[in-house]
């Protein structure tokens, strides 16, 4: 080994030590800091999948915007879906700070090379689903996202802070919608229960596979891009949701769900992990439709993007000539 090699190696070691010390001190890694390639690629993947989830997540509820039963519900739902678009854009913006290319991320989503949350592959046949999604799906998202406000990657953590502030509105409007239905007719109450029956288990799946099978957890915890394991977060969600369900007057569809005084937590039944695997690998009820809608929106919008770029170029040229 010659002197130049040694220098290069000690330089790399010093940079890695700096990186690790920053994380150890609970400080944030910022875009132009040196970082290990695997940290960068893991962050890009995590942020991109999160962004895709927000964007695809507009579809199940968006389907109800034109059919919401009152102007109040329509305005609320429109604002909520618009927020989800915003969340996607904050996150694509964070991914770009790592050198990711935005059109490339969209291409990866549309071609199925990058995933999004399995929950958005379930259909929304009833208006109660809008309420249940706000309550359970946004509720589970909040559980997942609050710890990410302390992610070691600065731009991601900052996007998460902004997102978490907005998610609280999402959950509360959903719960309020359900309370209104529960005060209604017997048929409306049945509609809520039927929707809860469909969404409860898929919501538990949002926390990912059980810890024993989760592949990325150890490294992600060491890098502080994940703060709690999947099972810890799932437990927290169950414990938070049980009293909310009781207050609402609905039954969570799990015969094994009961308080365990010894553990200080609720015990609950085994999630059907084969269903999660199936839905993630593309075989959920709506996977094909979700991607098709996203592809169509992207392709149908191409002429608008091109026209806007041409207009901007023309204006810039004219301003140049006038100057």
């Amino acid at each position: 080994m010659d002197a130049a090699d040694t220098d290069a190696r000690t330089g790399a070691d010093a940079r890695l030590a700096d990186f690790e010390r920053t994380i150890e001190r609970d400080q944030r890694i910022e875009p132009r800091d040196w970082m290990p390639d695997r940290y960068r690629s893991t962050m890009v993947r995590q942020i991109a999948q999160h962004a895709h989830s927000e964007i695809i997540g507009m579809q199940p509820e968006g389907a109800w915007i034109t059919r919401a039963p009152s102007l109040r519900r329509k305005a609320i739902l429109l604002a909520k879906v618009q927020d989800e678009a915003g969340h996607g854009l904050y996150l694509y913006s964070a991914a770009e700070t790592l050198g990711a290319d935005r059109p490339e991320l969209t291409a990866r989503l549309i071609s199925g090379r990058q995933k999004y949350s399995s929950i958005f592959n379930y259909p929304t046949p009833s208006f109660a689903d809008v309420g249940v999604i706000g309550w359970l799906v946004d509720g589970a998202a909040i559980c997942n996202q609050v710890p990410l406000c302390r992610s070691s990657y600065g731009p991601y953590a900052r996007a998460m802070i902004r997102i978490c502030k907005e998610e609280s509105f999402h959950q509360r409007q959903g719960y309020e919608l359900l309370m209104t239905l529960m005060r209604g007719t017997e048929a409306q109450r049945r509609m809520v229960q039927e929707s809860v029956d469909r969404w409860w288990w898929p919501s538990l799946m949002m926390f990912g596979p059980p810890d024993a099978e989760s592949t990325h957890t150890a490294q992600s915890m060491a890098w502080k891009i994940k703060r709690h394991t999947n099972d810890e977060l799932r437990q927290r969600f169950v414990d938070m949701t049980v009293p909310q369900a009781a207050a609402l007057g609905v039954t969570l569809p799990d015969p094994d769900l009961r308080w365990n005084a010894e553990r200080g937590h609720h015990d609950f039944g085994e999630v059907d992990w084969s269903e999660l695997k199936r839905v993630i690998s593309g075989d959920g009820p709506c996977n094909a439709e979700r991607i098709e809608v996203r592809r169509a929106a992207h392709e149908d919008g191409a002429w608008v993007r091109e026209a806007a770029a041409a207009h901007a170029a023309k204006r810039a040229r004219r301003e140049g000539e006038a100057a």
Binding site: R32, L89, E96, P103, A308
Partner: protein, 96 residues
């Protein structure tokens, strides 16, 4: 899409209320500055988070190196006498 037709990246700065500086809040893509402003309003100020927005094309920004031990910041590192706490003043001297 050809690279030339791709919308440029704009960094967005928002003044939260009168009396505060503009603060960087994130970025977005837009065809031109005017569209960047409108999109920034819809993206970053949906809940009265701002009274004024700046957008700057990202490529127009010149930045220092992010390195913690960057010699660029060395000149201020050894000048403790720039801080008020550097000076010992007796306790009985008022208003200082």
């Amino acid at each position: 899409m050809e690279p030339s037709r791709e919308w440029p990246l704009y960094e967005v700065f928002v003044r939260g209320k009168r009396g505060l500086n503009h603060v960087h809040v994130g970025s977005l893509r837009a065809a031109d500055a005017e569209m960047a402003l409108r999109n920034a309003r819809d993206l970053y100020t949906r809940r009265n988070e701002g009274v004024s927005i700046w957008v700057v094309e990202a490529k127009a920004i010149t930045a220092s190196s992010p390195d913690e031990k960057d010699p660029f910041f060395a000149p201020s590192g050894d000048k403790v006498y720039r801080h008020p706490t550097f000076y010992d003043i007796p306790e009985n001297v008022p208003h200082m």
